[in-house]
């Protein structure tokens, strides 16, 4: 873990211009490079944030995510492509390998273009299901843009995204006006499985549903998904914190929707969409610009009077008092900031061998904090059980990179000279007194015996007979 961290820091130092915490080489995959004009604002924003963008065609021979076993790019954006597959250089296995090697992927879909089959099988590995026939259209007859989709109702107007759980930080809706809306034109909705690595960023409104515009024109008999089960923008974070985002509508990232005005059916006046800000946040999250937690250092030591001040010793004794401190930072667009735990959440430390012996909420430790890092610590007494224990932090929250730290220490038994001496224990006093009496009695008896020599030899002989 430590070497991994130092590599992290090194990379960060080497690429000063890079804003993401995990490199700035971005590959954009487009059917036709000319299409990139449609996304000029989105891509321009990315470029201005420090990414070096390369463009490739999925069928291109030169396209390779890996070179000599190392990643050639740090991030990949896949825009919709018309081809049925993604070609031999973007097989699902390669994409999985890319994610296993800490690469991040942003995938966009469009209802007009059916998703490539290799993308579908990749998604199914991530426990994300697309509508049958790899295409679908999300419509909502209540929340649609009356100006652009008055008939088809396929441009959804969505409210500001809210966090899925109260203890999760609001990365996508924070600081955005209450009445701000998001346009979601002609998008594909996905159904998410039960995987805990998945988080829906935007769910469809309760009245939305997905259908196949080619086959189900008259009647929707086999409903794929509807309402909140339909995820429009979904996030997946692998165990190694590699991120994968599925944006259901590529069109929402296009220039024309970035500052478009939409009006809703209830006759309210037209409002501007915040698609541009949302696109920044989604790409920023995917490419490790927000929601990245870094462990700066971990320290544990004996917390006893008169003990040596040794840091991170490999061995403790049972019933020692120990202090554990961890320093955490969170990355926020350009700087590392102190990592704060939401009020109804806790950062927990486990001291475990096979099962936890302690599970403690770590408390903020201001003495060790700084402008860019927050320290959390706990003080506790080790259990009365020797063995090989782990200080374990397993902090996994949606949208936040995983913190999984394990520091192994041995907890030994009491050494033979660490017990209290017998004379300290009051209960032992009768026995100690007994020893003293026996010794004194024996010495006294010997003295008496030697002093009282037989007076008369004859009498002695008679007695023994």
């Amino acid at each position: 873990m430590r070497s991994f961290l130092s590599l992290f820091v090194f990379l960060f130092a080497a690429a000063v211009s890079a804003i993401s915490t995990s490199g700035n080489r971005l590959l954009v995959i487009l059917d036709d490079v000319a299409d990139k004009e449609n996304y000029s604002q989105f891509l321009g924003d990315l470029e201005s944030r420090g990414f070096q963008i390369s463009f490739e065609n999925p069928k291109s021979e030169s396209l390779a995510l890996f070179h000599l076993g190392e990643r050639s790019y740090d991030h990949v954006i896949l825009f919709p492509t018309r081809s049925k597959g993604l070609g031999p250089n973007l097989t699902p296995n390669i994409l999985v390998d890319f994610m296993n090697a800490d690469g991040n992927v942003l995938v966009t879909l469009s209802s007009g273009v059916s998703a490539p089959s290799s993308l579908v099988s990749l998604l199914s590995e991530l426990d994300i299901q697309l509508p049958t026939d790899r295409t679908g259209l999300v419509v909502d007859h209540f929340n649609y843009d009356t100006t652009s989709a008055a008939d088809k109702h396929d441009v959804l107007v969505l409210p500001r995204p809210s966090p899925i759980r109260p203890d999760v930080k609001d990365y996508f809706g924070e600081g955005i006006g209450k009445d701000a809306v998001l346009a979601f034109p002609r998008g594909v909705g996905a159904a998410l499985g039960a995987s805990e690595l998945l988080t829906p960023i935007i769910r469809a409104p309760r009245t939305a549903y997905s259908y196949n515009p080619k086959e189900q024109t008259e009647v929707v008999d086999d409903l794929f998904a509807a309402g909140e089960q339909l995820s429009l923008v979904s996030a997946f974070q692998a165990r190694n914190s590699a991120r994968f985002t599925l944006v259901g509508s590529a069109e929402m990232l296009q220039d024309k929707w970035f500052d478009a005005e939409v009006s809703q059916a209830d006759g309210k006046k037209a409002t501007k969409t915040f698609n541009r800000e949302f696109a920044k946040r989604v790409s920023g999250w995917t490419f490790n610009e927000i929601g990245v937690v870094r462990v700066n250092w971990i320290e544990h030591h004996l917390d006893e009077a008169g003990a040596t001040n040794e840091s991170n010793p490999g061995i403790y004794r049972i019933k020692n008092d120990v202090k554990y401190t961890i320093s955490l930072s969170e990355y926020s667009w350009t700087t590392w900031t102190p990592f704060t735990v939401p009020t109804d959440d806790a950062l927990q430390l486990e001291f475990s061998m096979l099962s936890p012996f302690h599970r403690l909420a770590l408390q903020a430790d201001a003495a060790h904090g700084s402008d860019s890092a927050a320290a959390y610590s706990a003080t506790f007494k080790l259990p009365d059980q020797h063995g090989i224990f782990n200080f374990k932090i397993n902090h996994k929250r949606p949208l936040l990179s995983n913190v999984e730290e394990k520091n192994t220490v041995s907890v030994r038994h009491m050494a033979h000279d660490e017990w209290p001496r017998s004379f300290v224990i009051t209960g032992a006093w009768p026995w100690i007194a007994g020893v003293g009496v026996t010794v004194a009695g024996w010495v006294g008896f010997c003295a008496l015996w030697m002093y009282s020599a037989p007076v008369d030899g004859k009498g002695g002989v008679k007695k023994t007979q």
């Binding site: 199914s124 499985g193 692998a238 165990r239 061995i315 096979l354 063995g387 090989i388 030994r412």
Partner: protein, 746 residues
């Protein structure tokens, strides 16, 4: 002088001091011979620690030498029994390690730098030389003939029953314990004969050393009280006995309690109660003795009965109460199995699974003791002839030792000394009788006969038989030469057994090539070296407990279980992981932080000591703890056969052990021709697949196979589907599922 060298030689052996010198030289030669005969393994292979337990002792010795005595005493070993650890300093017998540590430091002080490994390898032969001397001393206490002592020393030096545990490299507790056993007995006899506190104290000292060295000290703890008890019952109570026993018991018990592993056992467990009981009994006898000298005999009679009855009643009551209250621990399982050989098989599979805990087969007695086994009763009979206190000891020891040697193979070791002593008495008596060149004159013997006859008229009939002498030189020489042939055969047998049966390090296997040359199969060390060089230093290795000490010693990696079988549940956990399917065993391995799994597979080479052959013990031990999850029956076919081929049961085929053993094995053979040479069966055409682990290493002859346990899947899939995806199989569409749609709840 030159005219008659033979006579000169004969006269040279007559002086007492010359004889003494000769005896010393002969003893030294015997000690040399006993050391030399144990060096086969070093010459054939190399200076290497053998088998299993010695590897732990070796590792502990290295720790002692590197970290000093105090650290060793308080050693908490976090590289075994992961993640429980082992309080090693408090759960071992430190005598062996301390002995070699002391030798190591002494040699260094003499500026002779010797590698600690060589000291460990050669410790057992060196101590066997001392054992020979101790046997000499013990036998000399039994009979005035010094030839008996020398013969006993010789027998002790080369008897296979002892060599089996003391060849070079067999660095186990028994290596020094047998010397201590014999020497403690010698000191006991000496103390008893002289009624000397000094000898009693020395006896206690060596008893303490014995306790520090070997769990078998309980043999002494039980034998000495038994001897005393028999003497008392024979009406041979004496102040000599009182002094010798009480000195030994008081000091010896105190000494034994200094060993952390023994601690308060001498006053708590039933095995130690006889010694305590006899100690109390002797006090009573001494008291009665005093009372008898003080009061008239009539009153004494009543006093005796009341007193004896009262004491016995109170004692018995106390014992029952203490046992039921748990103050005195009940008999341990290993002890029960000494009385009932079937006990372990039913109740404690972990004890029964050890081959050296099996009852002894009859041929083993002849194999380990050869002609001594039939000379042994003769010697015991000769002891009956004289039956002084020390001869009673030999008789008691012989009975006790024979019984236990019959119950457990490893206790052959404790029988061997008494067999050597008794056989030496027998042989020396024979030789003394037949080797005397002087023939008795018929009339002389007649006269003797007459005198005897008059004396013994009132005696038994057998004692009044006429005494018969050996008159003919021819008969004498026949007898002596026959005996000499037997003795020579004995030496031949001992050398043959040592060379063929007891000199294999078992870490290195040897086989013969067709041309007769030796071929070394070194898979174990190859695999352990691989672990040492290619894995993280704290990579946890899971294997069956047999290999725990070796992995710790040779590969220097933490293990889950090892040959110190102190925690049956932990062993059963490993057994469960090995005998369950991947889905069940993977969480167990994750919980125990296992990085690598090591299995021994003999199918390619026909090596019988492999894990598939031991597999049923794993199943049984796991079943003992989890009878609902592991069932031995499920590993047998309908017809009750234990099979590994296509007919094997599903449970067998799905078990982790089976999969790890036969994974990729098919690829060695043309399709459908895979064969297991150990069990002599054809294997199914399609081999097992593994998804939660990957093959990391397989040794040259496939004896050791090491697998790496995979991490959890990065994308949160289960390993089966992840492995299927990697193989390029498409996932079945989830939409085709029947039943109600599974909704996601956030």
């Amino acid at each position: 002088m030159s005219a008659d060298p033979l006579q000169a030689l004969a006269s040279a052996g007559k002086g007492e001091s010359t004889r003494g010198l000769l005896r010393v030289i002969i003893l030294a030669l015997i000690a040399g011979a006993s050391i030399a005969s144990r060096l086969f393994s070093v010459i054939r292979f190399e200076s290497i620690i053998h088998e299993f337990d010695p590897w732990f002792n070796f590792r502990a010795t290295k720790y002692l030498v590197a970290n000093g005595f105090y650290n060793f005493w308080d050693w908490f070993d976090d590289r075994t029994w992961h993640p429980l650890g082992r309080v090693t300093g408090g759960t071992l017998y430190p005598g062996l390690m301390v002995t070699s540590g002391a030798i190591y430091h002494a040699l260094r002080a003499l500026t002779i730098p010797v590698d600690i490994r060589n000291i460990c390898v050669l410790l057992a032969p060196a101590f066997s030389g001392l054992t020979a001397v101790a046997a000499y001393l013990l036998t000399n206490e039994m009979t005035p003939s010094s030839s008996a002592g020398l013969l006993a020393a010789l027998f002790m030096g080369i008897a296979p029953g002892y060599i089996s545990r003391s060849v070079a490299g067999s660095y186990d507790n028994e290596a020094i314990a047998i010397f201590l056993l014999v020497f403690t007995f010698y000191l006991w006899i000496k103390a008893l004969k002289q009624g000397s506190m000094l000898w009693g104290a020395l006896c206690a000292l060596f008893y303490g050393y014995m306790v520090a060295s070997w769990g078998g000290y309980a043999f002494i703890t039980c034998l000495l009280p038994l001897h005393s008890f028999v003497l008392i019952c024979m009406g041979r109570y004496s102040t000599r006995l009182y002094v010798a026993y009480t000195t030994w018991y008081a000091l010896g018990t105190l000494a034994s309690m200094q060993i952390p592993f023994v601690g308060f056992l001498p006053v708590k467990t039933s095995e130690h109660m006889p010694a305590l009981g006899i100690f109390g009994f002797l006090q009573l006898l001494a008291f009665l003795d005093y009372v008898r000298s003080a009061i008239p005999s009539r009153q004494f009679q009543t006093f005796l009965w009341l007193f004896a009855g009262g004491t016995f009643g109170i004692g018995l009551l106390g014992l029952v109460i203490a046992t039921s209250a748990g103050v005195i621990a009940p008999w341990s399982g290993r002890f029960y199995s000494l009385w009932d050989t079937g006990y372990a098989k039913i109740h404690i599979p972990i004890i029964a699974s050890v081959s050296e805990h099996q009852p002894t087969a009859w041929p083993a007695f002849f194999f380990d003791l050869n002609m001594l086994i039939w000379l042994f009763p003769v010697g015991v009979y000769l002891c009956f002839q004289q039956l002084a206190d020390e001869h009673v000891f030999i008789v008691v020891y012989a009975l006790f030792g024979s019984y236990f040697a019959g119950v457990m193979v490893r206790l052959m070791l404790t029988l061997t000394p008494v067999v050597c002593v008794a056989a030496a008495i027998a042989v020396s008596t024979l030789l003394d009788t037949y080797l005397s060149t002087k023939s008795p004159k018929p009339e002389e013997s007649q006269a003797v006969e007459g005198a005897e006859g008059k004396k013994a008229k009132s005696g038994l009939k057998s004692t009044s038989k006429p005494m018969v002498g050996v008159y003919s030189i021819w008969g004498k020489s026949m007898m002596v030469s026959a005996l000499a042939v037997y003795l020579l055969l004995f030496v031949l047998h001992c050398t043959w057994v040592t060379s063929n049966a007891y000199s294999s390090p078992s870490v290195v296997l040897a086989s013969r090539l067709p041309d007769g040359s030796q071929h070394i199969i070194d898979d174990y060390r190859e695999a352990y070296q691989w672990l040492r060089q290619n894995t993280r230093e704290d990579a946890k290795i899971m294997s069956w407990w047999d290999y725990g000490y070796q992995i710790g010693g040779m590969a220097d990696r933490p293990t889950l279980v090892d040959n110190n079988t102190w925690n049956n549940t932990h062993i059963a956990t490993v057994g469960k992981a090995m005998s369950s399917s991947e889905e069940v065993s993977y969480p167990i391995m994750r919980q125990h932080e296992v990085d690598y799994v090591l299995v021994v597979f003999g199918g390619l080479l026909g090596y019988s000591g492999d894990d598939i052959n031991k597999f049923l013990w794993m199943v049984r031990i796991a079943e003992g703890i989890w009878p609902d999850e592991v069932s031995e029956r499920a590993f047998f076919t309908q017809r009750g056969e234990y099979r590994v081929d296509a007919e094997a049961t599903e449970t067998m085929k799905n078990s982790l052990m089976y999969k790890m053993s036969y994974y990729n094995y098919n690829n060695l053979f043309p399709p459908g021709k895979a064969v297991d040479r150990m069990r002599g069966v054809h294997l199914p055409e399609v081999g097992p697949t593994l998804s939660t682990m990957e093959e990391a290493f397989t040794s040259e002859n496939w004896i050791i196979r090491i697998y790496k346990v995979k991490d959890l899947d990065n994308l949160g899939r289960d390993h089966m589907s992840a492995a299927a995806f990697d193989r390029g199989q498409k996932k079945k569409k989830a939409t085709k599922k029947r039943g109600p749609r599974l909704l996601r709840v956030d």
